[in-house]
């Protein structure tokens, strides 16, 4: 573990340029064929166990929401797994499948798609390498890490191995992409420890950095003992790589004048820590040890939050918080461990729970309460990248392929840029700001492709539909993944009824605008 990358420092600059070239012109990886490793029954049994754990805390008078219809669930799964809504062609495909299995088939289809690995890795990476600062002066270090993580997720590599690789990574940032976990934090033990505790253990130890934690039992020695595992890790000159040196770690105890040297030690379960070996190797083995009480839970809670918009425990990286749903997290984490840390398996399980398939709450009076115990699906605002992808998807009848097409990546980038806020406060509840609403309502980026002179969905619908009713129904499917009810159909067909063909095209643009600006479009529900 002590290869010093200095000799190749100079080459790293060229490598950066090459990396960018590969990123611009490299051909995308082949779509991975989805293969369910676990038999279906094990998925539904595990899902049922989680549901039992959730429901065991329900008050007797609770009125759980009924299960949502298949299309609505399909929309949820697509937003969670690839950040966009189902395309019209996909809806038609879904409806052609047998009802009993179509949702499982849909999840499988999404999990096998490169779009899933791309999107999930990006969301997941924010727990690891997102820092409040930008990535200056090495903007490609994050991309490098992300590409690596995407490959791991596409291959469905066991998560404990991924975590182990990250914690023990070393070498030049271009050759050893996982090492960018360290370069992204300038190899600073404080920041690395904060990240490690939050991402891999779901613990907010950082409060204990300067003082003992005000509410939990963590103290300053817990934090700095953990930080000492990273004490010998060094960033090579020009931030080009990571290697280890012989160095002791010290910290300033609260109320003291002198720094105190501390050797690597863990804040709990010390018997799981091996006595000898390289500090980061020891740390990685301890973090990923099957008996570590937090590791599996931290990941499952994060995956849960990516599917539901909120975690079983909130904030998602503060597992010390005990709530009614903590029992369900224990069950789900046990299943994750049992499956050998199989990411796709736990996604299948969570997506199969009744909790995931319930309608969102109807009655404002007890909505917050029933969402809190998952008697109803929580309504959360779509993230900027989900909103951008959903809007772009309404411009096409077929699936926008982000893994294949540069057009969509650029268009998405432009919209997310306008919507703002791609990286910050990843899982915080947000209500959306005025700039975003201004953009949704007034942007010209979307009006051009919608304009009938240029083709686009409104024009295609206008020309291909046999009746105004069919126009409206298809527009609802494209934008909201559902059919209109009678009143909606009436309101919308009134708009189109007496119009000439060119007029109808213009009014269809209005209809798309209206559907895309409604609360149903902008919120996960």
């Amino acid at each position: 573990m002590a290869v010093r990358p200095r000799l190749i420092d100079a080459l790293a600059g060229f490598a950066a340029i090459l990396a960018m070239g590969a990123w611009l012109f490299g051909s995308p990886a082949n779509p991975i064929v989805g293969l369910s490793t676990a038999p279906k029954s094990s998925v539904s049994e595990a899902a049922a166990r989680i549901d039992v754990a959730i429901e065991s805390h329900w008050k007797p008078d609770i009125q759980p929401s009924p299960l949502a219809d298949d299309l609505q669930i399909a929309r949820r799964v697509a937003l969670a797994l690839r950040g966009s809504i189902p395309a019209l062609t996909e809806i038609r495909w879904l409806e052609s499948r047998p009802q009993a299995t179509r949702l499982d088939e849909w999840t499988e289809r999404l999990l096998g798609d490169q779009c899933f690995a791309d999107y999930f890795a990006e969301r997941f990476a924010r727990a690891l390498v997102h820092s409040k600062g930008s990535d200056f002066p090495m903007p490609f270090r994050r991309d490098c890490f992300l590409t690596w993580l995407t490959e791991q997720i596409a291959e469905n590599r066991p998560y404990d191995q991924i975590a182990h690789d990250i914690i023990t990574a070393e070498g030049v940032w271009t050759n050893d992409p996982a090492a960018n976990f360290f370069t992204a934090h300038e190899a600073d033990p404080i920041r690395l420890t904060t990240r490690t505790a939050r991402a891999f253990l779901g613990l907010r130890l950082d409060c204990a950095q300067c003082h003992d934690h005000p509410f939990a039992d963590w103290n300053q020695r817990d934090f700095h003992g953990l930080a000492a595992f990273y004490g010998a890790t060094k960033l090579a000159r020009f931030s080009t790589g990571i290697y280890d040196v012989e160095r002791e770690y010290s910290f300033l105890p609260v109320g003291q004048e002198l720094r105190e040297t501390i050797s690597p030690q863990v804040p709990f379960s010390p018997h799981l820590l091996s006595r000898d070996g390289h500090p980061r190797e020891r740390l990685a083995n301890w973090v990923t040890h099957p008996a570590n009480p937090y590791f599996a839970k931290a990941l499952v809670n994060r995956v849960w939050a990516l599917l539901f918009g909120v975690g079983l425990i909130e904030p998602i990286d503060d597992l010390d918080a005990r709530t009614e749903l903590a029992g369900a997290l224990d069950v789900a984490a046990a299943e994750f461990k049992r499956s050998g840390y199989d990411l796709k398996h736990i996604i299948r399980v969570i997506a199969s729970t009744e909790a995931f398939r319930r309608q969102s709450a109807f009655h404002a009076d007890y909505a917050v309460e029933s969402e809190a115990v998952l008697a109803a699906f929580p309504s959360t605002r779509l993230r900027p990248e989900q909103l951008a992808r959903a809007m772009l998807q309404t411009l096409a009848l077929q699936k926008n392929d982000y893994a294949e097409s540069w057009y969509f990546r650029l268009a998405e980038w432009g919209l997310v840029d306008e919507l703002g806020d791609k990286y910050e406060e990843e899982m915080e509840p947000r209500e959306g700001n005025l700039a975003q609403r201004l953009m949704m309502m007034n942007t010209r980026s979307l009006s051009l492709p919608l304009d009938h002179h240029w083709g686009g969905t409104a024009a295609e619908l206008n020309l291909l539909s046999k009746s105004p009713q069919e126009c409206v129904e298809t527009a609802f499917l494209i934008c909201l993944t559902r059919r209109p009810n009678d009143q909606e159909l009436r309101i919308c067909t009134d708009l189109l009824k007496d119009a000439s063909l060119p007029q109808r095209a213009v009014r269809l643009q209005d209809l798309f605008w209206v559907l895309n600006n409604g609360s149903e479009f902008c919120w996960q529900h």
Partner: protein
């Protein structure tokens, strides 16, 4: 599974249970905010009604702007000139500002803790060092949340390159709206269809939303979607958006600010303040002079000097200066030591911040830096105390607390500096 240590006392559990419930009810906090309800306890006697922040991104050199040391080992080729303020000299490249120095309270001994751009600007803009656990609101967002404005968004930034939100825990409603050079109208603020067609669209949207409401009142009410739509509609229809149209100003006024994006934005900032926007931020970038420090500053000063001085004079002529706090600051200063290729590095140990207008006692200088380059300026002013002073000038109590996650956080932990305030 055994854990080496007992976890979680009963009181902590209770506490977190409470705080997790309150996290779920975040939308009612937003409902309160939208309804315009604010607690009165955080208000002090108001001095300024609006703030204009001139943000010098990159970190300007104090030695080439407001704190020259000509003829010393740290001074470099920068010359100094006399100002309206007896005995106070500033860089010779800022002759018009020298004429306005009687309005300015100059702090030459600001001390920060961060030497990284992002961390430094976070500290300067929020008064807190960045942490992983909470995002603190920027000064402008605090103004936006505490002062009443008109139809326009309450915190508007000109020329910022980064899209980061700055309202933090105050909520998205107080994020800044970032716009570009006012030579072009701001993006997305005018409808992309004729106004009557937009009205048709919105009435259709409302009738569909009421359909949805009949089936799922929670979704519609919780999202406050309709209120946001109404806010956008108010902006689109508002006469106040004319404030962005600097073309309406006489040519002589425009010329005074300078024909640069920064100058034009400063002029637009004045117009926005006139229609009651609580905070406007104008950015001038590229101060990060690790090489060719003197040439860079000469160039940037040529942009800064007319714009800043015209803004102060213009505000004063219109009787707006007493109600408008003007802040000139960057994330840090630059090293007294001159490095290779005439560069200066980052320096948080004594740098200049200039204040003027509402609530501020102009015509004074606080602190002094050592011409030999010692990192210990006399009469040091911490960023926390500076921030508390600025909040005071806006009539906002810096000690206002909020429970964020599991702990109370003050708007600012500093103490206002009385001699800076009127």
């Amino acid at each position: 599974m055994d854990i080496g240590k007992p976890r979680g006392s009963a009181s902590r559990r209770e506490f977190l249970r409470f705080s997790s419930l309150s996290a779920l009810s975040w939308c009612s906090a937003q409902a309160l905010a939208l309804a315009g309800e604010t607690s009165n306890s955080n208000r002090l006697p108001a001095r300024a009604k609006s703030a204009i922040i001139l943000w010098m991104s990159g970190g300007p050199s104090q030695l080439e702007t407001f704190d020259p040391h000509p003829g010393t080992s740290t001074g470099g080729p920068t010359r100094a000139i006399k100002t309206r303020l007896p005995g106070v000299q500033i860089a010779a490249d800022l002759p018009q500002l020298a004429e306005q120095m009687d309005k300015i309270a100059l702090i030459r001994s600001t001390v920060g803790k961060e030497v990284d751009h992002d961390r430094g600007s976070y500290l300067m803009r929020t008064s807190y060092q960045p942490t992983e656990s909470v995002v603190h609101p920027a000064f402008g967002s605090i103004c936006a949340a505490n002062l009443s404005g008109g139809d326009l968004p309450p915190f508007i930034n000109f020329l910022c390159a980064e899209k980061r939100s700055r309202a933090g825990y105050l909520g998205d409603l107080y994020d800044r709206l970032i716009v570009g050079d006012p030579q072009q109208p701001p993006k997305n603020m005018a409808p992309n269809v004729a106004l009557d067609r937009l009205h048709d669209r919105i009435s259709m949207l409302k009738s569909l939303e009421s359909q949805l409401h009949a089936r799922n009142p929670h979704l519609v009410e919780r999202t406050l979607h309709e209120k946001q739509i109404d806010k956008v509609l108010a902006i689109v229809r508002s006469e106040e958006t004319r404030a962005f149209r600097i073309g309406d100003e006489p040519i002589a006024v425009r010329a005074r600010y300078g024909d640069t994006p920064f100058g034009r934005s400063c002029l637009a900032a004045r117009r926005l303040v006139e229609v009651g926007v609580p905070c406007v931020e104008v950015e001038l970038a590229n101060w990060d002079s690790h090489v060719f420090n003197f040439d860079k500053h000469k160039e940037l000063n040529a942009t800064l000097d007319p714009a800043f001085s015209a803004l102060l004079a213009d505000l004063a002529e219109r009787d707006l200066l007493d109600s408008t706090l003007v802040i000139w600051a960057g994330e840090f200063g630059r090293t007294p030591k001159i490095l290779g290729f005439d560069g200066r590095d980052h320096w948080p140990h004594g740098f200049s911040v200039a204040l003027a207008g509402g609530g501020i006692r102009g015509g004074q200088v606080i602190g002094a830096t050592d011409p030999a380059g010692s990192p210990k300026p006399s009469d040091p002013v911490t960023i926390q105390d500076l921030f508390a002073t600025l909040l005071n000038a806006m009539g906002i109590n810096p000690a206002t607390e909020r429970i964020i996650g599991s702990r109370p956080i003050k708007l600012c932990e500093g103490k206002a500096i009385p001699r800076l305030l009127t």
